[in-house]
């Protein structure tokens, strides 16, 4: 992985953005190299940069422009996919048995996850 990709990954890790003077320390590179990488990422439109003050020192706040890919794993409860997908029944979530089964399966999923983390 190139240093630019690593930098972008580190930046993406911080949801509220990261200070430039913190970034180069974390990447273990010097500040000049860091600004070159930042310019490149800025030019590619992958990040945004705004002036900021960190601990009294003037620096920049760097944020990624990349939106987090939505995770669809939560549509699964164990191996049951959302019962609402492709459902042709009259929709009554209040009393839908399929939805009940799906929700109850979540507790199964939680206990399985616990077992996994206990064995790890």
């Amino acid at each position: 992985m190139g240093i630019e990709e690593t930098a972008l990954e580190v930046i993406s890790k911080y949801e509220d953005g990261v200070f430039q003077n913190q970034l180069w320390k974390e990447l273990d590179i010097d500040s000049r190299k860091c600004s070159r990488i930042i310019s490149k990422l800025l030019k590619d439109g992958l990040i945004t940069r705004e002036p900021a003050v960190d601990n009294g020192a003037r620096t920049f706040l760097i944020r990624t422009t990349r939106k987090e890919e939505p995770s669809f794993e939560l549509l699964l409860s164990g191996d049951m996919f959302s019962p609402c997908a492709g459902c042709r029944d009259a929709c009554q979530p209040e009393s839908c048995e399929k939805l009940t089964a799906w929700v109850l399966n979540l507790s199964q999923e939680n206990s399985n996850n616990q077992e996994v983390s206990e064995t790890e």
Binding site: F72, S82, A85, C91
Partner: protein, 164 residues
């Protein structure tokens, strides 16, 4: 590129078109084909192929083109599989699930439930009082059900779904 081994994608497709439908999708010949060609190539029954194609088309995962034979005037339906937009569909499914979970949560929170200890039936207060708190199936006395764990499960999943 859509990963057909992704459990979410598989789960979604199985929910829509069943195991047979998924097998058809995996074996489907490339390019524009007729339903009969698909049935022949995959060895899946023609009625299942048609049902699968219809559902896929309804969910924007297959494209259908009609062609009229100039001499006989017959119509031929040509199908192309295109599941590249599946993410858009999954976003819709997620919205629908969140909406329904919220409706369910609201209903669970604003009602009191009674269940048969034998597990025959579950009723809200009105139904249970109409049945004088006796199970209509086995005659057992109904007991009050604490639905807080159920609500908690729904609530937790709604929060997680909305945060990602």
């Amino acid at each position: 590129m859509i990963d057909m081994n992704d459990p979410v994608i598989r789960g979604y497709l199985i929910r829509l078109v069943g195991e047979d439908g998924l097998a058809m999708i995996e074996e489907m010949p490339e390019g524009e084909v007729t339903d009969e060609q698909i049935a022949q190539a995959t060895g899946i029954l023609l009625n299942i192929v048609r049902r699968t194609l219809f559902i896929l088309n309804e969910n924007k995962l297959a494209i259908c083109r009609r062609e009229r034979d100039a001499s006989s005037g017959w119509l031929t339906y040509l199908w192309t599989l295109d599941i590249s937009d599946i993410r858009k569909q999954l976003i819709k499914e997620r919205k629908k699930l969140i909406k329904n979970l919220k409706i369910r949560k609201e209903f669970e929170e604003s009602n009191v439930f009674y269940i048969c200890p034998e597990g025959c039936i579950r009723m809200d207060f009105k139904q249970a009082s109409d049945a004088v708190f006796m199970c209509m199936e086995c005659g057992e006395d109904m007991i009050h059900e604490d639905n807080t764990p159920f609500i908690q499960l729904i609530d937790e999943r709604i929060k997680n779904l909305e945060s990602r």
